[in-house]
Amino acid sequence: MASEWLTPAVVALLAGGAGSAVTTIVRARVDWRKARLEEDRQPVELENVFIGGAEKAVQALQVALDRAESTIGRLERSLSERDEKLQERDRKIAELEQDLTNTLARLARLQERCEQLTARLADLRADDRPTLGDR
């Protein structure tokens, strides 16, 4: 009959399950007692855990800061290059403006000279007419 092997198998299964449960609970209890003892005796170790965590956090922050610093440096370099290009462009514009001013001034002088010559020519013509009339 099947029950000949069934009962021992069932007992073994149940014992295995119960044993695992008891082992887990006993181990949890042992860990708890150990943790309590360590808490009572060596609070410094707990502080070291926190300090170690803080150190790791600071290191991670340091790495992040280094990365941010290199990014800022790269951006600053590209900004200064762009500034130089802008200054060069401004300088060229200023030179062109200066050339334009000089040209306008020269043009004004030539126009003034031209007006003077026109006026003188008119004066000369006016001077010539009475002379002819006198003849």
Binding site: L6, V11, G17, S20
Partner: protein
């Protein structure tokens, strides 16, 4: 998770226990195992296949193991949400309950198939799958505990970080 200031006590309690729905299978199988095992131990009303094939002492032991497994699983899951600082204790209680529940389910599956033959293949298969799921969950919980202890620095009892 701090509750808003205008929460009533009932709302805060509900919010605290709402995440229990994250583990419906573990929780509900734990509840059914605890209740079923307790009823079996108290009244002795075991299933027919179990009664017919096993001695009464083993039947009682099966009921006790089942009830204890269910109680451990439920208490483990509730502990985690009731006191989040006792996360590792809750996981350990749940793991402690999963192994005996796997054993109890496997026992029922084997007994049902032996007693009823091929007619019991489907319930036997379902029970064996539940047992396998219990073992898989126990292993997953074990790995989770190890990960928490490694990264958070739990001391085996409380989560210290």
């Amino acid at each position: 998770m701090p509750a808003p200031a205008n929460d009533t006590t009932e709302e805060a309690l509900m919010r605290r226990f709402l995440p229990l729905a994250d583990h419906p299978f573990e929780l509900l199988f734990g509840v059914i195992a605890a209740l079923g095992g307790a009823v079996l131990v108290v009244s002795g009303a075991a299933p027919a296949s179990i009664n017919a094939t096993l001695p009464i002492v083993v039947v009682r032991a099966w009921g006790i193991v089942q009830a204890a497994a269910g109680a451990l699983i439920v208490s483990g899951i509730i502990t985690r949400y009731w006191r989040p600082a006792l996360l590792l204790l809750g996981l350990r209680l749940e793991r402690a309950g999963l192994w005996p529940l796997a054993a109890a389910c496997a026992v029922y599956a084997v007994v049902a198939v032996v007693h009823a033959g091929p007619r019991a293949m489907y319930p036997g298969g379902v029970l064996m799958v539940i047992a396998a799921a219990c073992v898989a969950r126990a292993r997953a919980v074990s790995r989770l505990e190890a990960t928490i202890r490694k990264y958070v620095g739990g001391d085996g009892w409380r989560v210290s970080g």
